[in-house]
Amino acid sequence: MQHYSGFGLLKHALNYHENWQRVWRNPTPKKKYDVIIVGGGGHGLATAYYLAKEHGITNVAVIEKGYLGGGNTARNTTIVRSNYLWDEAAHLYEHAMKLWEGLSQDLNYNVMFSQRGCLNLGHTLQDMRDIQRRVNANRLNGIDGEVLDAKQVQEIVPILDCSANTRFPVMGASWQPRAGVARHDAVAWGFARAADSHGVDLIQQTEVVDMVIEDGAIVGVKTNRHGVIKADRVGCVVAGNSGVLANMAGFELPLESHPLQALVSEPIKPILDTVVMSNHVHGYASQSDKGDLVIGAGIDGYNGYGQRGSYPTIEHTVAAIVEMFPIFSRVRMNRQWGGIVDTCPDACPIISATPVENLFFNCGWGTGGFKATPGSGNVFAATLAKGEAHPLAKPFSMFRFHDGALIDEHGAAGVAH
């Protein structure tokens, strides 16, 4: 792998940047791998990278039906935070946060991780009580967090309407200074490049159409372009399509796939240097380095795979943003799109063995998977390498829906993923 550095940039400038190496290979798949990962998004590529780097398993293929990082990795609103209420979730997301903090160096690829802080606004007395409880829980778990009053919020975000005359006055917020945003595409590309350099085969434009299962154990996957590819273990990291793949393997998951929409505005001058979220008014916004406002809110309530949603949801989203930031009322929206998120009944992911031996699923991240990308890949790689759940992944078994040990993050997470 070509090492990226400032000096390298200078060197390539001398010959007009014509001799950069390809970032990854485009190999023909082998007949058999130790591990196949279905799904070449951020989580799948991170899984492949950590399998190779931390567990020495390099005979790995990532099979992607489209192009790398072209699904929800390309469609999310890039927020990274770890201020979750319950211990299990907090530990998992904080594990990811620690990896984020060294990720650009680790991958030798600038993922543009910017710890610009995240505000979760409170608009009612109950909101403020929940915020206090969550921040206290975070601090006990070693996660940074502060409870701010409306005046302190106003100091951080002068353009936020903190006056008493709004429909839902801002009473305060939780503040996680280490939270922030990262460049979503760069995360997928960085993990892909690093995994490829360890010898992982990235197989694009290849769809898994069936699972090959013998005696209750998976032995390979059937693809549309390369026939059957065998593997000792298979990990599925396919977000919205998890239910479809589970059906191929003959079981159901406690998941429903919903459209989740997002919008970006036209680029404007720097005005918002942090992430602002509101569960109550139901919307969130940040500003990208390019200058566009990145805006999101809740899912469309119905099941859907169409990668688009309904107009009423967009209207609610934009109404919430204008309620919080009246100054944005005349900003024009540039693009709007939908991704397909696989939501769990308890709003927590599934990182788990399945009823089929040697088949593992990493799914159910719902509306908030991006922030967990390195952590999710890291614990799923350990799970695939050892054949048993990583300690941080253990509470997230799909069988928690049989024994009742749910991790109810709805209150803490709400819209604000």
Partner: protein, 96 residues
């Protein structure tokens, strides 16, 4: 944007008047006390999540507030049929 026919009101109305309420035709276990944890968990949490035809419940939340069933394609979002609770669909998804 859906334009949904409410079989109770006998009218087409815009999506905003309705709420999707999840998979239809889930039968409550006949004898809940004798359910295993697995059976009870699957009744509560495990859902069909098809890419294609799906039978689901909707409620006319800001209208008559009654529930009804919809058969809808989850990829094209086309509504194939609307029918009342207790009725059986005439357009049937595979695996039902």
């Amino acid at each position: 944007m859906f334009y949904i026919y409410c079989p109770h009101c006998g009218e087409h109305r815009e999506e905003e008047e309705f709420h999707a309420k999840g998979q239809a035709h889930i039968a409550r276990p006949a004898d809940p006390d004798s359910c295993s944890d697995k059976e009870w968990g699957e009744y509560l949490f495990f859902r069909k999540n098809p890419r294609g035809l799906h039978h689901e419940m909707w409620v006319h939340a800001t209208g008559c507030r009654k529930f009804f069933n919809v058969t809808r394609d989850t990829v094209t979002y086309e509504i194939k049929e609307v029918y009342k609770i207790g009725e059986r669909p005439s357009v049937v998804a595979a695996g039902n």
